[in-house]
Amino acid sequence: MADPAPEIGISIRNLYKIFGPNPEAYIDAVRQGMSKTELNDQHNHVLGLKDINIDMPRGAIQVVMGLSGSGKSTLIRHINRLIDPTVGEVIVGDQDVVKMSETELREFRRHQTAMVFQKFALLPHRTVLDNVVYGLEIQGIPRKKQEEEARRWITRVGLEGFEESYPNQLSGGMQQRVGLARALTNDAPILLMDEAFSALDPLIRMDMQSVLLDLQKEIRKTIVFITHDLDEALRLGDRIAILRDGEVIQQSTAQEIVLRPSDEYISSFVREVNRGRVISVDMVMTPLSEAEPGAMTVRSGSVLENAAKKMTEKSANHAIVIDKAGKPIGALDIQDVISAMVTPVDHTMVEDEEDAA
């Protein structure tokens, strides 16, 4: 769990975005604390993003979550510079995307990034196959190679047999599979997904999440995944950043967000979460006191729901948490497990605990 320091894939530094005819004029005021409402009411400019600093881990899924209008789409579009920042840096590798020339940027978009869109954004006049080859086609790769790659990914996302269909002949879920295949065929290390599953029905959305998690085990890309849905964020995110009114208000792992929401806004979200499926036993286990011979074992990293199910099946009140190698690392009490599953923690309680400690 606690990798020492995961390699950074994308680093966003001091990024500000103000929308309006004369954004530079207000940057200092915003830096000194002018709020989004003040800027809008007094100067008719929209504060899109304010002092964003996020290190996105390489080869993992970084989720950015927030309500509609919080600036998620604006943020993700800075990574491939579909939107230019007012000030700030977006570092990928050793390059600052913000400083790239037109040609450098085009090459960067072609080879380093691929994107999946909320409304699919497929070319309606092209078949599935011709949509999926698009990235390679504009790179000037020979057609045979384009098709080989495209067909491989079409099969991989489960669309075999639909190569010659047009987008409008497919359901939403299938269209987004095309969007995913189009992005994957590009074989870029960074995958940008802006509310990629938000337009889909809940069941199909779950299905697509599984497809993505499954693929990610194999492709290990740096994925930036935007969502407004906390369950989706918790399910997919290796790390999660929460955005409100253009500001990052918490960034951490899923577990930490559920256990230690940093303010009332986040705890109001987290209250609705099925905690048993998010929190792992590692978060509630106590240090091993004495070895209990014959006690049942639970693997480190299991979620509370699974642990509780196992323990009740065997009517055990205690269990030992073991790591991958089978070494005991902590003790588990069924009382603690159940209370962690049912207690909605809010940030004031976390503070109380900390005070008591």
Partner: protein, 295 residues
């Protein structure tokens, strides 16, 4: 009180001087550049004559089948193709074959020219709001100006005949194709364009792969209107020596030949319907992939 009844116009001498000044200036211009224009338009002239010869000198059954085949390719409709054949047979039977072919040749060439010139102008207009605000009023004037007026400067510049006629027809018929190319490109879905950008399309690639294909149905509507306007103008242009169905109509007017006028008028209506149905059916077919098949 007279000044209230009679409009206080410019006095006669100044007005004459004003008109003369402009006319002389234009005449000097035509004397200086008329030949240059004529030379520049040589390829157009050759193309025009080639097309006319193709339609009038080839055996009529071949031409008839050729036109029917093109109508079939465009519309994929048996009804339209059959309509084309019957219309052409009737035209031939009433001895208007040659004039009709000349009119078709002129209309086709003028439309092609309008497309070649109009689409790039429309593209430039779609790319810049400034250019759009400059060109739009010009198009407004062009579309409201009576068609006869177009003939005057062309005759001064190039004289009488097919080529000046062709230019007048082309200029008269070009506004719809420009307008609808501009509109079509501006209406392209922003999300799809953004996707094209995100994958690193150059500006030529986004024009070729996204903007033009998605604008095509709108552009086709413009082509359809341009064809109709060209056809109408080809008839008017017979006044400056353009051969075709317009000439017998002119003759019918001056000699009061009622039947001759009506027959030729009907032939014009016939080919107008052919052009209209075939090009509209083609435009519809282009949009087929946009129909939502999935329930």
């Amino acid at each position: 009180m007279e000044w209230l009844i009679e409009f206080p116009a410019m006095d006669r001498d100044s007005l004459t001087a004003f008109k003369k000044a402009i006319d002389f200036a234009f005449r000097d211009f035509t004397r200086a550049y008329g030949d240059a224009f004529e030379t520049a338009l040589l390829p157009v002239k050759w193309f025009m004559f080639w097309m006319e010869d193709l339609l009038t000198e080839s055996p009529w059954p071949l031409v008839l089948l050729g036109i029917a085949f093109i109508a079939w390719l465009a519309s994929r409709s048996l009804k339209i193709t059959l309509g084309v054949i019957i219309t052409l047979l009737l035209i031939g039977y009433f001895d208007m074959w040659e004039d009709t072919m000349k009119t078709i040749a002129m209309t086709v060439v003028a439309t092609l020219l309008a497309i070649i010139v109009g689409i790039p102008i429309g593209i430039v207009m779609a790319r810049s709001n400034k250019v759009q605000t400059m060109i739009n009023p010009v198009l407004d004037v062009m579309q409201t100006m009576p068609s006869f007026v177009y003939l005057i400067p062309v005759v001064m510049l190039l004289g009488i005949g097919r080529v000046p006629g062709l230019i007048a027809v082309m200029v008269y018929a070009i506004p719809p194709i420009i307008r609808l190319t501009n509109l079509g490109i501006r209406l392209v879905d922003k999300d799809v364009l953004e996707a094209a950008d995100a994958f690193g399309s150059s500006s030529w690639q986004r024009l070729k792969n996204v903007q033009m294909p998605l604008a095509l149905p709108t552009i086709m509507a413009g082509v359809n209107q341009t064809i109709m306007m060209a056809l109408a103008m080809v008839v008017v242009a017979s006044m400056i020596g353009v051969p075709g169905l317009g000439l017998p109509v002119l003759k019918a007017i001056s000699n009061q030949y009622f039947t001759l006028g009506v027959l030729n008028g009907l032939a014009i209506v016939g080919i107008a319907i052919i052009f209209d149905r075939a090009s509209q059916a083609y435009g519809k077919r282009l949009q087929k992939h946009l129909e939502v098949v999935h329930g």
